[in-house]
């Protein structure tokens, strides 16, 4: 436990010296860590040699001072690395300094037979730890070593090294100290290198696992998408195959109905009306399934055009007026004059509004249905907001959250009482989102409901953004804010 704490402490000190520019490359960071460990702690072990010389040599001269200076000079490297981050150059310079230290002390103390010669072993070892797999740098290091050796030999031959006045027993002591120090040094570096390598291997294994998971996920997503597209295609085909015979039922029953009306055959009129309206209901359901499958398959296109909002709302409310009257309802459209025009898919917004207005009419008896349209500022661009409020039966809290899910018809009882396919609102929400908008519902049981449709006022705004993403309208999307303050629906 304590060891781990010390190790973490050392790691943080080491990492502090790494220049930010090196941090992106993990291999580089690991090399720099080995470099820093060797430079921060190496001089402690290396200094054993000049200290031993100082103590043993009866006449320690400038050669000991130079050796000590160049060994402690290693401490400058971490600071330079922190400041400039010029790693390769510093690594090469450091190797050169190391070669110099070793050959310098060999030259003055024993030449070829110097007891400090084992330090030569550390040169390639450390160099290759620092510089990594780069062939160019490795060649430079080997060349550097060879040149230094040649210079050393040439100098040793031409100007024979000064005869050391170190007694031979002391020379042996120097050998022991030097060998122990170099052994400790190499052990330290090997241990640290092994630690780095181990954590690297762990990291790589983890990364491989992540990559495997990611590719599995990708494959699963592709599979799911393919299955989804196939399903959508099947649905689209089926819908067509269902619609063709169904249309014959609707159209021929319509013609028979017209004949019966001409002849005043009341019994036939009633029967044919049932066939006709059942056919219409089934056709609406199939059309909604087709639309939903087209949206899911990404095959539903948008046809934006300039649209007069007042005309749009007038058309929608005119269509609903007859059924509203049948339920004793009054539709009251309040369109502020400055609402003007919008650029959007007229047919789709009309489909959405009709669906919601039909619901309002259906679930309200002897009440009021208000339609209110205005422009509001959205988070990115101007939005068109159309609100449809009714004074109907309202929606219970626990039902409102599933309102926009497919095949939700309020209560089992109400589906038979009020009809409805259970797809209308789900489809409306999807269409609205396709247009870059959203629908919210607020309701109070027994008081009424309010549906707010918000779509971009100008679909060109979405095109210029280059995204078909659906912006979240303030507040939850299909999870409506039914808990918001007193809703003025009862008015």
């Amino acid at each position: 436990m304590k060891l781990a704490a010390i190790s973490a402490q050392i790691s943080s000190i080491v990492d502090w010296f790494i220049h930010p520019s090196l941090m992106n490359d993990r291999d580089r960071v690991n090399q720099a860590r080995v470099f820093l460990i060797s430079h921060l702690f190496g001089p402690f072990l290396g200094s054993a040699v000049p200290i031993a010389l100082y103590l043993l040599d009866p006449t320690p001269g400038f050669e000991v001072a130079v050796l000590a200076a160049s060994i402690f000079g290693f401490w400058v490297f971490p600071i330079l690395l922190k400041k400039f981050g010029n790693y390769n150059l510093l690594a090469i310079l450091s190797v050169e300094n190391l070669i110099f230290c070793i050959l310098w002390s060999c030259y003055f103390y024993g030449g070829i037979k110097s007891p400090t010669l084992p330090w030569v072993l550390t040169i390639p070892l450390l160099a290759f730890f620092y510089i990594g797999p780069s062939t160019v740098l490795r060649t430079i290091v080997i060349a550097l070593f060879a040149i230094n050796m040649m210079v050393f030999l040439a100098v040793a031959m031409l100007a024979s090294p000064p005869v050391s006045d170190l007694p031979s027993t002391d020379m042996e002591w120097l050998g022991i100290v030097s060998t122990v120090a170099v052994a400790l040094y190499v052990t330290m570096m090997a241990l640290y290198y092994a630690k780095v390598y181990e954590s690297q291997a762990e990291l790589e294994a983890e990364m491989r696992e992540h990559l495997a998971t990611a590719s599995e996920l990708r494959r699963a997503t592709t599979d799911a998408e393919r299955a989804g597209a196939a399903k959508a295609e099947f649905l689209a085909k089926m819908s067509h195959e269902l619609r063709t015979p169904l249309n014959a039922v609707i159209n021929y029953s319509q013609m028979l109905l017209e004949d019966a009306q001409d002849e005043g055959d009341e019994e036939s009129i009633s029967d044919l009306n049932k066939i006709h309206s059942a056919g219409q209901h089934l056709l609406k359901l199939i059309n909604e399934v087709l639309d939903l499958s087209k949206i899911d398959a990404g095959m539903m296109g948008l046809y934006n055009e300039d649209t007069s909002i007042a005309d749009l709302i007038r058309r929608v409310s005119d269509e609903a007026r007859e059924s509203a009257r049948a339920n004793g309802n009054v539709i009251n459209a309040d369109i502020s004059p400055e609402v003007g025009m919008a650029y959007l898919d007229q047919q789709k917004i009309q489909q959405i509004l009709s669906q919601i207005l039909d619901n309002a009419v259906k679930f309200t008896k002897n009440g009021m249905i208000g339609i209110h349209a205005k422009k509001i500022a959205g988070p990115e661009h101007e939005m068109l907001m159309i609100e449809i409020r009714d004074t109907g039966i309202g929606i219970a809290d626990h039902e409102i959250s599933t309102l926009f899910e497919q095949f939700t018809v309020l209560g089992d009882a109400s589906s038979s009482k009020y009809g409805g396919t259970g797809l209308g609102l789900a489809l409306s929400l999807k269409l609205c989102r396709l247009m870059g908008g959203d629908i919210k519902a607020q309701s109070r049981l027994g008081e009424g409901s309010a549906f707010t449709i918000v779509v971009p006022n100008n679909a060109r705004d979405l095109e210029t953004q280059g995204s078909g993403k659906t912006p979240e309208v303030a507040g939850a999307a299909s999870v409506p804010e039914h808990t918001l303050g007193p809703v003025a629906v009862a008015a």
Partner: protein, 123 residues
């Protein structure tokens, strides 16, 4: 009311469409494939053509292009009828010269609106 040419290869659809249009007061002539549709366009000179897109050998878009290429029939408005309300079908129909586009099976009420609009009949 005006004369409408229905080009439709499915017998039931053709019969239904023809009879319902006749009940609305239109004069209706019909063709069962592309080549006869093109021929009848110039021989009958209808006020509007309802063109099924999936007609077999010569499809409705091809027939439309031929009708539009003939100077005498070029200005007859053509409404394409396709099985799937796909974006690509709609774009293709407009690009070959159709004035409008509707999906089969036709919603008769909606189709009536389009007929009146393109034949200049007051609703």
């Amino acid at each position: 009311m005006g004369k409408i040419l229905v080009v439709e290869d499915n017998e039931m659809n053709r019969d239904m469409l023809t009879r319902r249009l006749v009940r609305q007061g239109f004069t209706v002539v019909s063709a069962i494939d592309g080549p006869s549709g093109v021929a009848m366009a110039s021989s009958e000179m209808p006020d509007l053509i309802l063109m099924d897109v999936a007609l077999g050998e010569m499809d409705g878009w091809e027939a439309t292009q031929l009708i539009k290429a003939n100077r005498t029939t070029a200005r007859i408005p053509i409404i394409a009828l396709t099985a799937h309300a796909l974006a690509s079908d709609r774009d293709k129909s407009i690009s070959v010269g159709c004035v409008d586009f509707d999906t089969k099976p036709v919603d008769f009420g909606r189709l009536m609106g389009k007929l009146k609009q393109h034949m200049g009949i007051a609703a």
